[in-house]
């Protein structure tokens, strides 16, 4: 598999080596006023339309062209397009600051035409979120939320109302790789999923890959959500923040050394608990219920060729009842990165990444006091290299060594307690990967993005590792010494995407991808709970594997102002995980005996039309899809709809800028109800009315629909100070969307049963936030 690929690579490179002498233009592109590096900004040569490139995650670009006179065009969404004439007689560095479009003064379409990247690029199944647009999308309680906004894209479905969990192309919510500055965020939600862990103030760039995953990403089956934090303003100090209904936030940024280094610190905290403090209800009075998070980042550019970045995130949820119990859970991540430019073609990034998720549950009552903890810790060393080969190849290759430590559960109790001390063995493992990928612009019509990722899972001792029979009894039990190899898995993951441009405005694309997953979330609840438990692939659990093929037609209208696409996909899933009835997952040494394994398939059609520019902008996304699972023990081994199966899913987002001060926005969603299991009969057991079931997920919740509106009022312009108000109404027509349907003995008619629908936000929920900025 590797050999022919290398051969192709060598062959194509030697061809370009024979081409005429090229010179290289390289550098970084940043925001002119803040020095913030721009990710994915495009650079093209007017005279050589196919010689375009885009900046990488660090704002770096490199492209080449033969000796000559050229006009370089630098562009980035939300920024003025800049043209620069150059005489290219030797390789040169061009570092450029792009001015942001002043949204207050300019609402007309820029005279520079938007580019047709979405048509020309071989990348498919990818979406880059525009942070300015996110800020205008109305959300629950006015808390701007990346995770909720991405569920408005086709192929991405919300796990439910008041839930930041999301399903991508039929994948489960633990099959999304969520990265914050390269660190895995295991539990991306606060407060059982009502809010995401990402404070949008601190976020610079969000990319979602739902298919066509480049080979530099791996480890999860269905998607990659790559989030990059702001670097901080390296020109001047600013303080900004907001006061909202649920939380307040503040961000401080500024230069460490002007134009060379900067820092950014952003924090947010909720304050519902202060309302509890003044509540007359004694139960509420003694309870604590809040979350906070802090994002911090600093960078320093030693010279044009060397830069260091340090960033971190820390977040915590706290929930407790006075003298009774307390619990807290949260993520922390840390990333140290070193960029080095070996020469104007070879860019290197070395990262050392730390990530941790933990929870603590404590009972304070003397007769049953205990403290239960669980955590997962990752240390990841990554080396990523990018090489611009001629003007047709951008090569990416690298290595990744990721060490997992999972402490599944640990209970400590004092002697008076009715609980025993109990500790579940820790698990250790490495997830290592090597990858190579090439973006090959064959000619001005055909582009390939192809690569290969080799992933290895190494489960190592110390510990006792058991295997189980179908009934969950221990078959074999073996002790391993520290560092001893318990189980290894190797997987080759080919990644291939291509685009063929039919004309300037339209293209067809196709892709095939294999992804594997070696870390699995065990949770038999539908939403994110603090007690999320992770396990690695082991002697009982095989790596999950997904193969996805997709094709698409991309068409732009009105000089690329309107983008349209249709994508279709089919996915085969192997080694999917479900739980036995009555599975006990918490603090269980034999947790792997509680699992059953099966397969799945997902397919769908996605329509997307987006107007990116102008006074009125927004998008419409529609997905028609099916997701089915197959387990021997469920539904007699035939396919049944997965919980995340949703036939129709529609999102409409509209943003209208009325004048310099007022912007209005609105979103509408419609979705088929989740697949659920309803009773098909009832009987009595132990004096209780009990329901009987005949098929898994054989029914549907009623469909969901909701309209939200928002408005932003920009304050009057001041030289050093700016403020704005954001208003919103969630669920404008107060629709009672089904959250859950339960079955019980009737409360009104004796000796009968009834079905009860619970809706959590069945009424209009207004919100108001005041934002400020000093500079």
């Amino acid at each position: 598999m590797i050999k022919p690929l290398l051969l192709v690579l060598i062959l194509t490179f030697s061809i370009s080596a024979f081409a005429q002498k090229n010179y290289i233009i390289s550098g970084t592109i940043s925001d002119k006023s803040t020095g913030e590096q721009l990710i994915g900004a495009t650079i093209r040569i007017k005279e050589l339309p196919q010689n375009g490139t885009a900046t990488n995650s660090y704002g770096f670009y490199s492209l080449s062209a033969p000796d000559g006179e050229y006009t370089l065009v630098f562009s980035y969404i939300g920024y003025e397009t800049v043209e620069q004439k150059i005489s290219l007689h030797k390789s040169q560095a061009i570092n450029l600051g792009l001015p942001a479009k002043n949204q207050l003064t300019e609402v007309v379409i820029s005279s520079n035409k938007p580019n047709n990247d979405n048509v020309a690029s071989a990348q498919m199944g990818a979406e880059k979120l525009d942070m300015a647009q996110i800020n205008n999308v109305p959300v629950l309680f006015g808390e701007k939320d990346i995770l909720k906004t991405i569920t408005l894209l086709p192929g991405v479905k919300s796990a439910g109302e008041g839930n930041t969990g999301f399903y991508v192309r039929g994948g489960a919510s633990d099959q999304n790789l969520i990265l914050l500055d390269e660190a895995t965020v295991y539990n991306a939600s606060h407060f059982f999923g009502f809010f995401s862990t990402f404070n949008s103030d601190a976020v610079k760039d969000v990319n979602l890959y739902k298919g066509g995953m480049p080979s530099d990403y791996g480890g999860r089956l269905s998607s990659v959500l790559d989030i990059k934090m702001n670097e901080g303003n390296n020109k001047g100090y600013t303080v900004q923040g907001g006061l909202g209904l649920i939380s307040s936030r503040i961000k401080v940024e500024g230069p460490i050394v002007k134009d060379k280094g900067s820092f950014m610190v952003s924090a947010r905290r909720t304050y519902i608990d202060y309302f509890f403090g003044i509540s007359s209800d004694s139960t509420l009075k003694g309870s604590s219920i809040y979350f906070y998070d802090i994002n911090a980042k600093a960078n320093y550019h030693f010279d044009d060729n060397n830069a260091l970045y340090i960033s971190g995130y820390f977040g915590k949820d706290v929930l407790g009842l006075k003298n009774t119990f307390g619990t807290n859970w949260g993520n922390s991540t840390g990333t140290i990165r070193f960029n080095h430019l070996f020469n104007n073609r070879l860019f290197s990034n070395t990262s050392l990444v730390f990530s941790n998720y933990n929870y603590v549950i404590q009972s304070f009552q003397t007769d049953d006091s205990f403290k239960a903890t669980s955590q997962i810790t990752d240390v990841n060393l990554k080396e990523d290299l990018q090489y611009s080969m001629g003007n047709r190849h951008t090569l990416k290759f690298g290595l990744n060594i990721l060490h997992h430590t999972i402490a599944p559960g640990n209970i400590t109790a004092d002697a008076m307690s009715s609980f025993n001390n109990k500790s579940i063995e820790q698990r250790f493992g490495f997830e290592n990967a090597a990858y190579i990928g090439d973006n090959w612009r064959v000619n001005d019509k055909l582009t390939f993005l192809y690569g290969l990722r080799l992933s290895g899972m190494f489960l190592i001792g110390p510990g006792t590792f058991d295997t189980y029979d179908n009934a969950g009894n221990i078959l074999t039990s073996k002790k391993y010494a520290s560092g001893a190899s318990v189980k290894n898995y190797f997987n080759l993951e080919p990644r291939f995407s291509s685009s063929y441009q039919l004309n300037d405005e339209s293209s067809i694309k196709a892709s095939y991808n294999r992804n594997t997953q070696n870390i699995h979330l065990l949770s038999n609840s539908t939403s994110s709970t603090p007690t999320d438990l992770y396990v690695m692939s082991s002697n009982n659990i095989k790596p999950e594997i997904s193969d996805q093929v997709s094709t698409g037609y991309f068409r732009n209208f009105a000089d690329n102002i309107v983008e349209f696409s249709i994508e279709t996909y089919y996915k085969w899933l192997q080694n999917q995980i479900d739980y036995k009835d009555g599975a006990q997952l918490l603090v269980n040494q034999s947790v792997e005996s509680q699992l059953v394994f099966g397969s799945g398939r997902a397919y769908g059609l996605e329509f997307f039309i987006k107007k990116k520019y102008g006074r009125f902008n927004g998008w419409v996304g529609y997905t028609l899809s099916r997701t089915e699972l197959k387990f021997d023990a469920i539904n007699n081994g035939s396919y049944y709809p997965a919980r995340q199966d949703r036939t129709h899913d529609l999102s409409v987002v509209g943003i209208y800028q009325l004048n310099k001060r007022w912007t209005f926005s609105s979103t509408f969603i419609y979705g088929t109800g989740n697949a659920v299991t309803y009773p098909t009969g009832k009987y009595e057991i132990g004096g209780l009315t009990t329901f009987s079931y005949s098929e898994r997920n054989g029914y549907r919740l009623p469909s969901t629909n909701r309209l939200d509106i928002g408005a932003t009022l920009e304050g009057k312009e001041h030289k050093r100070y700016h403020s704005s108000w954001t208003f919103g109404i969630y669920n404008v027509y107060g629709h009672a969307n089904p959250y859950i349907i339960t079955f019980r003995d009737s409360k009104t008619v004796p000796n009968t049963t009834e079905a009860v629908q619970t809706s959590i936000f069945a009424t209009q929920i207004p919100s108001v936030t005041w934002n400020f900025k000093f500079q």
Binding site: L321, S418, T526, N588, T689, E754, Q757, S759
Partner: protein, 265 residues
């Protein structure tokens, strides 16, 4: 641990102040007429009952047609064979059987030409020390009580328990089942947390404690998991795994039993 889970759900509910519930009409499937077997053998010298019925559509009244004319027997490990006789329709009983802890009982039911069997082992009894009433932590303002059961879990052996709670003679419609995974060998004060019936001072509370075997624990635990409608709607419901073969609804449990009553203070 179980109580913590309940608190999670409860606090979560406080947060969702805008939530609302309504009774709705649903078109549900009808897979009924299936045999339901509920069999219990206890260590108390009293009649032992096996009841046979059939499940009914969701929209029917909660009355279940008895299965009459079946042949029902229980055999123990010493090959003592006992035939049960039908009293009221669908209820099969024997008056002379006192179950012995440690003994294995095999139920056999033949009806409509099909024979069902189930095996259950009666565990050793654990003494129910006392039951007490404690202040309900969650609704402190309302002067409500919870009932706590107190017993010493035997060290070194795996025990499983099921409790039933009645308030003024009305059964609380909840499953309470626990094992000793976290409490082995400890003196246990276990609150039977529930929200079905409000318990006030002056009420009479009665608790039955059953010591059950592992498969029956899994049966009840599955039912108990399904009654938590916490964040996101809990787990996907299914028929709990039965110890009856071929598979049908219900269970057969050989267990020890003891009861205590208190006036709630």
């Amino acid at each position: 641990m179980k109580k913590i889970k309940y608190w999670f759900s409860a606090l979560y509910v406080i947060f969702i102040m805008a939530s609302c519930t309504k009774v709705i009409d649903l078109k549900l499937g009808d897979k009924t007429g299936e045999l339901v077997i509920e069999g219990n053998i206890t260590n108390v010298r009293a009649p032992q009952y096996i009841t046979l019925s059939r499940n009914v559509p969701f929209t029917n009244a909660n009355t279940y047609p008895p299965v009459t004319g079946a042949i029902v027997s229980v055999t123990d490990a010493l090959a003592n064979f006992r035939q049960f006789t039908e009293g009221p329709p669908g209820t099969y009983s024997i008056g002379r059987l006192t179950g012995q802890p440690g003994n294995t009982y095999t139920l056999q039911v033949t009806t409509n030409g099909k024979t069902y069997s189930a095996v259950s082992v009666m565990p050793a009894p654990v003494k129910l020390d006392s039951i007490t009433s404690v202040i309900n932590d969650f609704k402190r303002g309302n002067n409500l009580r919870d009932i706590s059961v107190n017993y010493l879990d035997p060290v070194g052996v795996a025990n499983q328990y099921r409790f039933t709670l009645s308030v003024n003679g009305v059964q609380v419609k909840r499953v309470f089942t626990y094992d000793d995974e976290f409490i082995n060998g400890k003196y246990v004060n276990l609150e039977l947390v529930q929200n079905d019936i409000d318990i006030h001072p002056g009420d009479t509370a009665t608790v039955e404690m059953q010591c059950i075997d592992k498969p029956i624990y899994t049966y009840w635990y599955t039912l108990m998991q399904q009654q938590f409608n916490g964040p996101g709607g809990g787990i996907t419901p299914s028929n709990p795994p039965t110890n009856i073969t071929p598979v049908t609804l219900g269970y057969f449990s050989a267990h020890t039993t003891q009861s205590k009553s208190i006036i709630v203070r």
